[in-house]
């Protein structure tokens, strides 16, 4: 047992830290978030050049062959910098699905482009009515002689505005809530019959709703086996959940650090506010919250890497804890910063808003605690 990072991982972390400190300062980030695309394509190119886009892909696809630990290192550092560029939707979701289930053609066509930074992708899985249920899918695909016809709608698609290719979950059989009968399709965002409406989220992300009006898809657009998409989605979403938890950890660390610093300099009633015992104990609480999240993150990362039996439970536990502790940490950060904490000017609010969005991405605290309860306590033997 050990909790050490490899030399390569330490170097990876340092290179991202350096990039953020030098080239991705908060003002730069603010400029990007206000641009029309909400991301900076030059920055993305830099990520490609530094090799970061290749990390999770297997070596025979031109990737680095990294594992969950490497991804968590990247995401934690991206969290610290509030990086807007679409690593999660393009590399982890879109790329992750192709990497795990794409056929040779799909892999060799798409992965090198992702790695080079030439292709931005998105995973369209949410629907108006679906809330947090991945298997609540009404978007339909019917087979036809030339391939498939896609009809339906997807909403809040991360990186929807900038994606040129989408992976869309759609029902090829079964009823609205069935786990069986969901399939994944590769769709060009500019194909005939695709309508896109984009809007911005409070963390700066540009997301889109897509309407698919009987869009024709070729036979090679199917990813994985027909009707067996759920397991694939669950696996990739599970890995992505751990990844955004690492991002959350990075944010929590920054919020704690900045709040602690502020408490040491901000004076009230003639003393630094950090000298007030009540605030001290509350900052100890947020310190402990951070350490607990870190521990459970490590547990999940190792569990993914070692494919452990209880990984499903652990990831639900992690996401629930990230939600709960996240609220505590940004709540204290804003409160202790006082009036400044509720301004747009200060970064504290922006870190907080990203934590809120992470909480709702792939399901919130209650959703995951409910799933955890279900797995652990309902109708199961505990032997």
């Amino acid at each position: 047992m050990n909790f050490d990072f490899t030399e390569e991982q330490v170097m990876l972390r340092e290179s991202i830290t350096r990039f953020i400190q030098e080239d991705y300062k908060f003002d730069e980030r603010r400029r990007i978030s206000k641009s029309s695309s909400g991301i900076d394509k030059e920055v993305w190119k830099t990520f490609a050049q530094l090799g970061w886009l290749s990390i999770p892909f297997s070596e025979n696809s031109g990737g680095f062959g990294g594992g969950p630990v490497d991804v968590s290192v990247i995401m934690e550092e991206f969290g610290k910098g509030l990086v807007l560029e679409p690593y999660l939707p393009t590399v982890l979701l879109f790329g992750g699905l192709i990497n795990s289930a794409g056929n040779e053609d799909q892999c060799s066509n798409l992965l090198p482009k992702i790695i080079e930074g030439d292709l931005l992708g998105a995973f369209a899985y949410l629907e108006r009515q679906s809330r947090y249920e991945l298997t609540d899918v009404m978007t339909k695909v019917e087979s036809c002689s030339e391939g498939f016809i896609l009809d339906g709608e997807k909403v809040v698609v991360l990186n929807g505005l900038n994606a040129s290719k989408l992976i869309v979950s759609a029902r090829t059989s079964g009823d609205q809530f069935d786990r069986e009968g969901i399939s994944l399709f590769l769709v060009s965002a500019d194909a005939d019959g695709v309508d896109r409406v984009s809007y911005q989220m409070m963390d700066g992300q540009m997301v889109s709703n897509f309407r698919f009006n009987n869009v024709s898809l070729g036979t090679n657009s199917l990813i994985g086996s027909l009707g067996e998409g759920s397991e694939l989605i669950e696996r990739v979403v599970r890995e992505a959940t751990v990844a955004i938890s690492a991002e959350a950890l990075g944010i929590m660390g920054e919020l704690n650090r900045k709040t602690l610093e502020y408490s040491k300099t901000r004076k009230q009633f003639g003393s630094s506010i950090g000298s007030f015992q009540v605030l001290q104990h509350r900052m100890v609480d947020t310190f402990m919250a951070y350490e607990q999240v870190k521990s459970l993150l490590y547990r999940a990362v190792c569990g993914l890497a070692e494919d452990s039996d209880d990984i499903e439970c652990i990831v639900h536990a992690l996401k629930a804890l990230v939600g709960k502790m996240g609220k505590q940490i940004f709540g204290e950060a804003i409160q202790i910063h006082g009036g400044m904490g509720i301004t747009d000017e200060l970064d504290i609010g922006h870190y907080s808003k990203r934590l809120m969005m992470i909480n709702t991405t792939f399901g919130g605290e209650d959703h995951h605690q409910g799933k955890f309860n279900n797995l652990r306590y309902d109708h199961h033997s505990l032997a």
């Binding site: 809040v156 809007y199 409160q335 747009d344 709702t360």
Partner: protein, 393 residues
């Protein structure tokens, strides 16, 4: 002990209900929802209340109050909230008005009070300063004596709606001798005076309601001084503890919780209504149960005030619990909105976006973080209770 309403109370309730449903009409409601028409909506609504004679239930009758019993005030507030109507702007009616009728001279009363009642002046509050935070008395804006004028220099911050305001009431330093509280005066300043600059502060919800107000050599006639020079702190403090119906905002929070419940009922997760999800139910009832209690805590405080008790530290309790409940309901709304909780204001209709209240839930939740900070942070309120109620030093 008796909490039932008398026949007269029930008749009064009907009257209030009827007034609200006819006076607060759909077009006014719509006006309130857009930022461009918000100011006009506030003024229009307050004028209607004035016309009805109900603009200032807490003022003494001789200055324009209603003379209602505390039960009537409770009913009025409950009906207002349950009709989804906002409270009136507090700066004139709740804050400076009472200071003027309590500590102002006859000329000030005659001039300002009717204009406040008729919503002819929009007031804003100049207490906090950059750097002063919860330590209000450390304020540095100074008013120097220049014959029949003061010359004011300094800056105020977190000033809500200063961009709309005709007047600002300010705490200014007129002396640096003695305790820091001792040299403060209470001054009314016309916002159109030369040397005043309003700098917008964009808040965490991406909106502009807060401002910094700068004063550079602003000349204020001495007739705008309230009471005596250097006694402003006393006036301001008495204002802070002033009787105020609904300080905990229970009626509004109840309405918001009821609203959340209705929305959760319609939200489906995996084929089941979110309202039937037991973890969500626990969130709801944790708040609802405390709110059922807080409603009576508020009534008890009001009853004690009505029978001559002074609302001192109890108002701190109401502030703490009331703001905690508000934030809890805002958090529940975010939970209901799920992915849509983050939507910024957009040109697209909610039909296109696929969601109705994500953006308003976001705004309320984010701006709502301020409730435990302003008006004396909740930490300060706890210090007050520890000292005043528990006798801890």
């Amino acid at each position: 002990m008796d909490t039932s309403f008398s026949e007269a109370d029930l008749l009064f309730r009907d009257e209030v209900k009827n007034f609200f449903s006819s006076a607060y009409d759909a077009s006014l409601q719509k006006q309130f929802e857009s930022f461009s028409t918000y100011k006009d909506a506030v003024i229009e609504w307050q004028k209607r209340l004035y016309k009805q004679g109900w603009i200032a239930p807490n003022w003494p009758v001789k200055y324009g109050g209603t003379g209602w019993s505390s039960t009537q005030k409770f009913i009025f507030e409950a009906e207002r909230a349950s009709a989804g109507i906002r409270e009136v702007m507090p700066f004139g009616l709740g804050m400076v008005g009472p200071v003027i009728y309590t500590f102002g001279n006859e000329k000030q009363k005659e001039h300002f009070l009717p204009r406040i009642l008729k919503s002819e002046d929009w007031w804003c509050q100049g207490y906090s300063e950059p750097g002063s935070g919860s330590d209000l008395a450390s304020l540095k804006t100074r008013a120097e004596d220049d014959g029949d004028h003061y010359v004011v220099n300094g800056a105020k911050i977190w000033t809500s709606f200063a961009q709309y305001a005709d007047w600002i009431f300010c705490l200014v330093r007129t002396s640096t001798e003695g305790k820091k509280q001792a040299g403060i005066s209470f001054l009314l300043i016309d916002m159109r005076t030369d040397g005043i600059k309003v700098n917008p502060i964009i808040s965490i919800d991406n909106h502009h309601s807060l401002n910094e107000v700068e004063f550079v050599d602003v000349r204020v006639p001495k007739e705008n001084l309230i009471g005596e020079e250097n006694k402003g702190w006393t006036y301001a403090k008495s204002l802070l503890a002033h009787e105020r119906t609904g300080i905990a905002g229970v009626a509004d929070t109840k309405r918001a919780l009821f609203n959340a419940q209705e929305l959760a009922r319609r939200e489906i997760n995996g084929g089941k209504s979110l309202l039937e999800n037991p973890l969500f139910q626990k969130r709801l009832s944790d708040v609802e149960i405390e709110l059922l209690a807080l409603e009576f805590t508020e009534l008890r405080v009001l009853a004690s005030v009505a029978s001559g008790g002074a609302p001192g530290a109890e108002s701190s309790l109401l502030k703490i619990k009331g703001t905690e409940m508000q934030q809890a309901v805002q958090e529940i709304m975010m939970e209901i909105a799920a992915h849509y909780q983050g939507v910024l204001d957009t040109e697209h209709s909610s039909e296109v976006i696929g969601h109705e209240f994500g953006s308003s839930a976001r705004r309320a939740y984010l701006y709502g973080r301020a409730a435990t900070i302003y008006g004396g942070s909740n930490e300060i309120q706890k210090n007050v209770i520890a000292k005043a109620v528990l006798g801890l030093e």
